[in-house]
Amino acid sequence: MNKEPMITIRNLTMRLGGRDVLHNVNLEIGRGETLVVMGLSGVGKSTLLKCMTGLLKPANGTIIIEGKDITKLKPAELNELRKNIGMVFQSPALFDSLTVGENVAFGLREHTRLPEEEIQRIVAEKLAIVDLEGMESLFPSQLSGGMQKRASLARTITTNPEVILYDEPTTGLDPIMSNVINELIMYLQKEFSVTSVVVTHDLESAFKIGNQIAMLYEAVIVEKGSPEEIKKSENPVVKQFITGSALGPIKV
């Protein structure tokens, strides 16, 4: 695995509602690596992802992706970079007025001049990857939660981004469907060398898919390491989070 950082985050501070949601966050993610950011709900994990795709502007710090500081790009340059960064939303934010096929084809229709047959072929291929063959004509509301997440993932990978950001990809799914999503994330990493950042509070998922795991608590990264290192961590916050104990330093 190439360890040259694909994403470098330096001193990232994000302020929302008068308080620091992220404070001096530093992270490096190697090319083709999967970093899992775990932490309690509402701790700022999604905010971190939104900063990384330029949806939120941080108060301070830099986020360098492919050598470009996303916090300083002009709108047109940001859009150009975004074509190479996919994001899978928690909700999962499919366009509900468009069919699944139109959702998946969205990036291609917006940013390429491919002929319609080629677009249809790519859409079918991506839907097959996420196990949703032949579902092109359905609307998102006709899909189950798990299917919506997979359709959202298909939409994200249509334009073959090198970086994919996942916001709670397994939240609200049954264990089997969570595992399907985990396998998909690992498949994309293995087959297409995708660099991924996954935010989650699903521990099983975190340990399964992460090459590196970072723990976010009270706006700062309190620990970062391999899954094994995190499991053995002596940090009381990490320990309490992993064991799920109600007693400990974590304020709930």
Partner: protein
């Protein structure tokens, strides 16, 4: 007392923020249109949703508005023996004032609220974020087609409204005041000039821009889940109607001066 002053100050700041937001949205929308960044398919779709689906309600409301206007005018006019002028009075009032304004109010209630609800629910379900993450500008993709659809369809609806209102007025004048249709029509011919129609339509273009911008702005700035969508939608109709009334007065004073 200090709290009242503070609240008032905050409200003023919010008002200016809101107006500033609308102006920025307007400039950005014009910027995209100026660069020729127009989606014909999306625009036609919006024109169908906004225009075709609003015809019936616009025609019905303005026909009855014209009818009631004629009823009151005819009553007085016949009393003073000037019933032959009723047609002109009704047509002028419809073409200059009631046609553009009632159409705008009906569309703000029907289509403006739908635009806000749609964009607002897209906002709270992260679909707008998804759009941006897919490197697509939401103003270009969502606002420009709706803005253009409003600018084209609302003046067209206004023409239907003018016709419906004047016809409604004519029918009432005939049946309730005994004013013959040819007298009613003659009065219109002698009173209304083409520039009345154009100026009325100019007003409706301004109203169209107000409705499109307010409803899109409200939608794109929705926060707070389903309740937020409800609030944004109500706000969209209220602010649009307030703007329509204020701008109608200013435009009428400018376009149809007393002297």
């Amino acid at each position: 007392m200090l709290i009242i002053i503070e609240d008032f100050g905050l409200s003023v700041i919010r008002l200016f923020e809101y107006i500033g937001g609308l102006v920025f949205l307007f400039l950005e929308t014009l910027g995209w249109i100026g660069r020729g960044s127009i989606r014909p398919r999306l625009t036609v779709e919006q024109m169908a949703i906004l225009g075709v689906n609003s015809i019936l309600i616009v025609v019905v409301t303005t026909a009855f508005a014209g009818a009631v206007l004629s009823l009151e005018l005819a009553k007085q006019a016949v009393k003073f023996g000037v019933g032959r002028y009723v047609g002109g009075g009704v047509a002028i009032a419809m073409i200059r004032e009631f046609g553009p304004m009632l159409t705008a109010i009906v569309v703000a209630g029907r289509a403006g609220s739908a635009i806000t609800a749609e964009l607002g629910s897209m906002k709270v379900t992260e679909q707008i974020d998804a759009l941006m993450a897919l490197a697509t500008n939401p103003v270009r993709y969502l606002v420009v087609p709706r803005f253009l659809a409003c600018i084209v369809m609302i003046p067209m609806l206004t023409m239907f409204a003018n016709l419906a209102g004047t016809t409604g007025g004519g029918i009432v004048a005939y049946f309730l005041a005994g004013i013959e249709p040819h007298i009613f029509l003659n009065s219109i011919k002698n009173t209304v000039i083409l520039s009345d129609l154009w100026r009325g339509l100019d007003k409706s273009i301004v109203f169209a821009a107000e409705i499109a911008l307010v409803s899109c702005f409200q939608g794109l700035n929705t926060t707070g889940g389903a309740a937020g969508v409800g609030q944004a939608t109500t706000g969209s109709v209220v602010y649009s109607i307030i703007l329509i009334f204020i701008s109608n007065f200013l435009l009428s004073a400018w376009l149809f001066p007393i002297h």
